[in-house]
Symmetry: C2
Subunit: 337 residues, 2 copies
């Protein structure tokens, strides 16, 4: 068994209260006692037991992360951001997956409540009203990252998908594109799907271009979705876009992979724009132009917001973080111009 504060006290010849005071530097002890206690603690390898501390202090200094079981590449960046901020503030982070399609979500949240996390950051989780009422019953602060609850019932940190899609589409138009496809989007997705469609269409309309539903290729943000979209584009020469705005970098790579197989040269024959700026974007050939989400910073911001809210006992406010258009090698002016 591991040494306890009592062992340190006994060997040092003082009370546990004094040991605690020395260890936490609270004052109220003499210098020779302090050195003695410290020496003994080190000698017997004493480490304090956070379970006991949490119990008496009624605070665990732990925040939880809940994510769907995905392996998209920005996963790491988000977690890094959260963990770095948490660590700096002396908080631990405990991690749980919600399973694919949130199957394990409430179970996971329960788990965390029993661990007495002080707050939870839910990454990319879609909530319906039933979920929300159950979450409220849990009585634990929940902050959404890259997600949004119906009627904004929960605070969030995310980019403004409408604005980002608008800016991205506008950028393609300014390059001279008129027939711009939107690929891989899920129109039933209220948080990332519909706003991006709306932004895309608004930018077209603002430029006097008529949005064409035949240019929207639905999907689930994956590589495969991009492949399917591009195959559909090739199969229907009558639509013939000069640019495709993919709804994620992975989707963009999917369309690029089909283009490669079909001998369509990028960006000469077709421009492709991604979304996310995940690590793979810079490493693709040609390097992928994309709209960047600052994942690491989003993680940091989320953790900071959560922790300061915890410490100041104020409510967490939502925050829209800035996106950025990153021009690399997959967008050019269309050939016809």
């Amino acid at each position: 068994m591991r040494a306890t504060i009592k062992d340190v006290a006994r060997i040092s010849g003082v009370s546990t209260a004094t040991v605690s005071r020395v260890l936490n530097q609270l004052g109220g002890y003499g210098p020779e006692v302090a050195t003695k206690v410290l020496a003994v603690a080190k000698a017997i390898g004493y480490r304090r037991n956070d379970s006991a501390v949490s119990l008496v202090k009624q605070a665990t200094r732990t925040i939880g992360i809940v994510m769907p079981t995905v392996t998209t590449s920005f996963y790491a960046q988000i977690i890094n951001g959260i963990e770095d901020s948490a660590y700096q503030a002396g908080y631990s982070v405990i991690l749980t997956h919600a399973g694919s399609s949130n199957i394990r979500l409430l179970e996971s949240l329960n788990f965390m409540v029993e661990r007495r996390v002080e707050g939870i950051i839910g990454v990319s989780i879609n909530l319906n009203q039933t979920d929300l009422t159950q979450i409220k019953a849990l009585a634990v602060p929940l902050l959404l990252l890259s997600a949004q609850a119906p009627d904004d019932q929960l605070p969030y940190v995310k980019v403004d998908d409408y604005q980002a899609a608008y800016a991205a589409t506008r950028f393609l138009i300014k390059q001279g594109h008129q027939r711009i496809a939107l690929a891989g989007v899920d129109p039933s997705d209220l948080v990332a799907g519909q706003p991006r469609i709306a932004g895309y269409e608004a930018a077209l309309t603002a430029a006097q271009l008529r949005p064409d539903r035949n240019l929207i290729f639905t999907g689930d943000y994956t590589f495969a979705a991009g492949q399917q979209a591009m195959q559909a584009i090739i199969a229907r020469p009558e639509v013939a876009p000069t640019a495709v705005f993919a709804v994620s970098d992975e989707t963009a790579l999917g369309v690029i992979s089909i283009c490669y197989q079909a001998g369509i040269e990028i960006p000469r024959e077709l421009s492709v724009l991604g979304y996310d700026n995940s690590a793979i974007a810079a490493m693709a050939t040609p390097a992928l132009s994309t709209v960047a989400q600052p994942f690491y910073q989003m993680g940091q911001i989320a953790a900071q917001k959560m922790i300061t809210s915890l410490q100041t006992k104020t409510v967490i406010t939502s925050e829209l973080v800035p996106f950025k258009l990153i021009q690399r090698g997959t967008v050019a002016v269309p050939r016809s111009n």
Copy 2:
């Protein structure tokens, strides 16, 4: 404040012991008491406090993950594997970064010991002898994942880098390649660097090909390392390999990106083989041939080994997991053949 077992007991009109028995289904109570207690617990939103349980049971059912602050794309797969296994066994996982180049390593480990994790899985961390003695002093089980300690002083789960590099090189030779470069490797890295160099050279020697140190381009496994290696290859036409074995997928993409810029066609003019089979390998154009490490399974195996060792109180044994050569689109027979 959250409801406690005492609240449940008081409202139900029984003792806390009985509540505990009901909640944990230990028997020794009547059916009507049970339903009453359960109803009360639910009504007041009682959740048990794991800090208290951990304290009295002297077990936290938590394992820790320590990783360097990297954003390589297999990060997610490893964590998913660990978390899934842990979750199934009723364990929580708490996550900490060791910082770049392990700057925060011992601090992180200490953190975890204070949290009383029952075991720690260290992912991709390189340990020197000083680290090791300090870790031993921590007296907590540590299992290495994709890493190895000097003199095998700690158990590990990893692929056999020597064999994998040997098989990969042999594969390239069988395709007809005779001048094969090795790119991005760190020769001072005892765990992933030297064994891969050795396997690479052994395969060459076994095929009566003389290893040539000029064909080894050192680096740090990154995308940039691959770019530098390929630039060096182009700058020195006298070495002119027909294939390059990159020491990671990212490095492979680095060499591919330079080839693209230089107009070198892959795989017609140059074959490229990666290492890892991270998500990006399948999404690259052309799709990257690579030696696959089963990251998700490695995570699972590590967690399972740790947990069964904890439960059976046996030592953790090391395990070499199988690699696999995945042939996609970046390796072909050399032109000269």
